[in-house]
């Protein structure tokens, strides 16, 4: 019968050739060689270093070898002196399979087996190297093909919007250029959807996408076959009207606005949006400039209110520039301390007593004078400056309220919080720090968030609100009734107060219908055990009506206008000037 060692090679060959990666093949070879030859140590050496060691640590083996590549013996702590045998393998210079055994050295048959194992390993490594080169080449070919495909797709996508099927800005400008080359009058309509963001935020992006598709269809339906509609980006569309002077484009724009104003069936609901349109005409300017002019006119239309059409005029560029300047000034205003807070009290409608004040941010710029929050807050939200501004408001209002509470210990403070602030991971700790610094009790602080902020991502909002609730501060839903509140979420939102939007009492003497809506909200709030505040009380009739409906708190010019901090305490004192109205 053959020597036992000759029985091992086929088993070794099968094991070492199985792995597809070099390191795995080397590992298997070392393990199996040590097991078959019953050696305490197995290793692979390459380029004078121990690459893999089995039965001892790599560094321990490096030390035991002492830099020698083919010693006859070595001493390993815990194992004593071991007989060492090595066999070179191809490819690469210096690659060797090493085994070390206590007791007997390898006999000639075993050394022969070791050599055969090393050659098998060399063969396996060559195969792996060839196969991986082949695999890499194949992968590179596949990657190239995929990249070409992606490029073609992206070129197509660059010219056609995948969501609506309409041409994109790129293709629109090419078509416009072609029309302008004929020197025929051409009008460009720039359409921006009103309230689209609210739909997107309330019903989700999928519903938003669905709505854009429906809008695209309705826009196309208003045009002649020779006209072109395009999606320029987000909720912006453009229309190219052939052989059409700017004035002639106005009725088309109006038709588009009327079409978009009609309800859209989205996500099983009737959704209402609007559109603002700017018009610019050529020839006479480059295609990009005409589209830009229409955009500027649209921005102007937006500022005039929803559903407006505006023709481009040259001075509008200056207005757009002013908007850019506003942004720059706003950035500097915080650093230069140009913001101030005014405070508008909230009164208990039953008692007539002031229970708290709402902090309102004001901007007094040396050159611009007073700037309305309606002008700079949206810009601050757009640029992210709102986080810093909001933190300043929180801390300033907190310090001020703490000072007032020394005289009026029950006075609470309401602070407005933007969506960006709420989802800022630092926000809860900002509030906590403010409470610590000012020693205000948490229940004295109410944070006001608008309905659209809470409803745009209710799950995230619930998480953020829970953090605030853990701190003990109250949360109020501001401008309640103007957004798309889901009642199921309202029930789950950890809030303490509903602040009913002033729009519901915009008439000096509320109508039966107005009162019915407010009554419903008040009853809903009672069911959910929430406090109610009505804002915008401007007449005694309104105040009485709200008190009778059971609103807890009221706010408005009739009760007290916003005042500077130094004027607040005198105003609230029984003899104060505005108290007579309250």
């Amino acid at each position: 019968m053959n020597h036992w060692s000759t029985h091992q090679l086929t088993e070794f060959f099968a094991a070492v050739c199985a792995p597809q990666e070099e390191h795995a093949a080397i590992m298997v070879a070392v393990e199996r060689a040590a097991e078959v030859l019953e050696t305490e140590i197995g290793a692979v050496l390459r380029d004078g270093r121990v690459e893999v060691a089995w039965g001892a640590g790599r560094e321990q083996l490096e030390t035991a070898l002492g830099g020698e590549q083919r010693p006859a013996a070595m001493t390993v702590p815990g194992l004593g002196e071991l007989h060492v045998s090595t066999a070179r393998f191809n490819p690469g210079p210096g690659g060797a399979l090493l085994v070390a055994r206590a007791g007997d050295p390898l006999d000639p048959e075993e050394r022969q087996l070791l050599q055969a194992m090393a050659q098998t390993l060399g063969l396996a490594l060559t195969n792996i190297s060839l196969l991986s080169a082949e695999r890499s080449a194949r992968e590179a070919r596949e990657r190239e093909a995929a990249e070409r495909l992606t490029l073609l797709d992206s070129l197509r996508e660059a010219r056609h919007d995948s969501l609506t099927g309409l041409p994109t800005r790129v293709l629109f400008l090419e078509m416009l250029a072609e029309r302008l080359a004929h020197h025929t009058p051409t009008s460009v309509l720039f359409i921006d959807l009103d309230r689209f963001k609210a739909v997107n935020d309330s019903l989700g992006h999928r519903a938003g996408d669905e709505l854009l598709g429906l809008v695209a269809g309705r826009v196309r339906g208003c045009l002649r076959p020779t006209d072109t509609a395009a999606r320029i980006g987000g909720d912006e569309f453009a229309v190219l009207l052939n052989d059409c002077e700017a004035e002639q484009a106005i009725p088309v724009a109006q038709r588009l606005i009327d079409a978009i104003k009609r309800s859209f069936p989205v996500a099983g609901q009737e959704v209402f949006i609007g559109a603002s349109i700017g018009i610019a005409a050529g020839p006479g300017a480059a295609p990009g400039e005409i589209l830009g002019n229409a955009d500027v006119a649209m921005y102007r239309a937006k500022t005039e209110g929803p559903g407006k059409v505006v023709l481009f005029e040259a001075q509008m560029h200056a207005e757009a520039l002013a908007r850019l300047t506003l942004n720059g000034d706003l950035q500097r205003a915080l650093a230069l301390g140009e913001f101030r807070l005014q405070y508008q009290p909230l009164f208990g409608l039953g008692s007539g007593e002031p229970v708290g004040v709402e902090a309102l941010v004001r901007w007094q710029n040396p050159e611009r004078g007073y700037v309305s929050p309606a002008d700079f807050v949206p810009m601050a939200e757009e640029t992210g400056l709102i986080s810093d501004l909001g933190r300043w408001v929180l801390n300033t209002a907190g310090r001020q309220a703490a000072a007032w509470r020394r005289t009026r210990p029950d006075l609470g403070i309401n602070v407005n919080v933007s969506g960006r602030q709420l989802t800022d991971p630092q926000f809860a700790s900002d509030v906590e720090r403010m409470l610590t610094d000012t020693k205000l009790p948490p229940h004295a602080v109410t944070l006001e968030l608008t309905e659209s902020v809470l409803m745009s991502d209710p799950k995230t909002a619930i998480g953020c609100l829970r953090d605030l609730q853990d701190l003990g501060v109250d949360v109020s839903i501001d401008d309640f009734g103007t957004g798309y509140s889901s009642l199921s979420y309202l029930q789950r939102l950890p809030v303490d107060e509903l602040k009913i939007d002033r729009a519901f009492i915009s008439r000096q003497t509320p109508t039966t219908a107005d009162l019915a809506v407010i009554r419903t909200i008040v009853e809903l709030a009672r069911t959910l055990r929430l406090r109610t505040v009505i804002e915008g009380i401007e007449t005694e009739a309104q105040r009485n009506a709200m008190r009778l409906l059971g609103c807890d708190l009221g706010q408005g010019y009739h009760l007290c206008r916003p005042v500077h901090p130094e004027d607040l305490l005198p105003t609230l004192s029984p003899a104060g000037p505005d108290r007579e109205a309250a």
């Binding site: 036992w4 090679l9 088993e11 060959f13 019953e38 305490e40 001892a56 815990g78 194992l79």
Partner: protein
């Protein structure tokens, strides 16, 4: 991963075993523990029992007698030996304590699917063990697949300087579910699919022995197709057909699974190795696949023989394994011996044969106490790098 640790250094060294065949787990546990401990506080106590006993009550009395640092480990088995007796349905407690012992444990849970990693995790119990003499004892689930990989994982951490020893848990050869035990005075966890690494340290020598008593029969067979423990082909022919022909039996031998297993136990496969043969127990045949199913990997390309073992050679191997462990102490007197005997040897030797085997071990140890269990696979690595064995008897002697 959970760990335990015990270091005893304040009293005389001792080793004790207790054996109970009472049917009530609490009473059986109490009887075996009381006999093994005899009022002494152990560094470690092993509990080996048949599957019917694996309930928390089994450990009640042992926990009451344990010290704050006592480590309790063990498993279900296919039979146990201790207190000078061998039995199938019983509980054996084997324990030791006294000066100069260190014990640390690590449990690797959910071993199936990550066998090598579990072996390495179990061996991490060796970390920081600075005693002059060390060994890693493994007790793990015997139904986790290619258990060889667990031992390779343990070796990758322990290295060649630390001997490996141990056995895989059983369930009276039902191959359904086995259990492992780990805990101490405050509670013992009953696990399944786990590997327990028990790092043993001592200021006196530890000796390992191993023998099986089998020999090759007939011509060699080349494994030309295999997958994990399934041998699909010998020399290009379905392995089951070759096996049946070699034994001179026909297909009907498979009609009675228990009968076929009994037959196969007498003819395991031997894989040619330098210091003898590595045994693979065949425990089933697959009629559809025409394969033989072994409890451990039979590598593709291996040269295998059908093995035979006569009664006498198997009995002699028991004495030989016991003797090797004691001799490995280098002349130091043996305090006690742990025994891991293959459950398939029990089937081969029969109920009367294991009593004879016990006599052989007792005779060779000459009054040195010993205890252990019948395993689903034995671990012994004290030379070379191979540590997983079958149909073998493995011993650990404490100096």
């Amino acid at each position: 991963m959970s760990t335990g640790m015990s270091h005893v250094s304040s009293s005389e060294r001792w080793f004790g075993t207790g054996h109970s065949t009472l049917t009530d787990p609490a009473a059986a546990g109490a009887e075996a523990a009381t006999a093994a401990l005899a009022g002494r506080v152990p560094a470690i106590a092993f509990v080996f029992c048949s599957v019917g006993y694996h309930v928390p009550e089994l450990f009640g009395a042992l926990r009451e007698q344990a010290g704050a640092d006592t480590v309790i480990v063990g498993c279900t088995t296919s039979g146990q030996l201790g207190g000078g007796r061998v039995s199938r349905d019983s509980v054996v407690v084997t324990a030791w304590g006294g000066d100069g012992f260190t014990v640390r444990t690590t449990v690797a849970r959910s071993a199936p699917g990550r066998l090598r990693e579990a072996g390495a995790e179990a061996a991490s119990s060796l970390a920081g063990l600075a005693d002059e003499h060390r060994a890693l004892l493994l007790i793990g689930d015997g139904l986790t697949g290619t258990t060889h990989e667990i031992v390779r994982g343990a070796f990758s951490v322990a290295g060649a300087a630390v001997p490996l020893i141990g056995g895989w848990s059983g369930d009276d050869l039902r191959y359904v579910r086995t259990y492992q035990f780990h805990g101490g005075r405050d509670g013992v966890e009953i696990l399944s699919g786990a590997v327990i690494g028990i790092a043993l340290g001592s200021d006196r020598p530890l000796g390992v022995g191993m023998a099986h008593g089998w020999h090759k029969t007939g011509d060699a067979l080349v494994v030309t197709s295999s997958r994990d423990g399934h041998v699909l082909e010998f020399d290009g022919e379905p392995a089951l057909d070759v096996f049946l022909r070699r034994l001179g039996v026909d297909e009907s031998a498979l009609d009675d699974p228990a009968g076929f297993r009994e037959l196969a136990f007498h003819h395991p496969l031997g894989l040619s190795r330098r210091s003898g043969d590595d045994i693979r127990v065949i425990h089933d045949g697959d009629r559809v696949e025409r394969s033989l199913i072994c409890l451990a990997d039979v590598p593709l390309g291996a040269l295998a023989w059908l093995m035979a073992g006569d009664h006498e050679s198997l009995l002699d191997s028991a004495g030989e394994a016991a003797g090797q462990a004691v001799e490995a102490l280098g002349g130091a007197p043996a305090l006690g011996v742990l025994v891991f005997d293959c459950a398939a040897r029990w089937l081969k030797l029969g109920a009367a044969g294991v009593q004879e085997e016990n006599v052989e071990i007792g005779k060779r140890l000459d009054g040195v106490p010993y205890g252990g269990f019948y395993t689903n696979g034995e671990i012994a690595r004290f030379r070379g790098a191979l540590g997983m064995h079958h149909f073998t008897l493995v011993t650990l002697a404490l100096g």
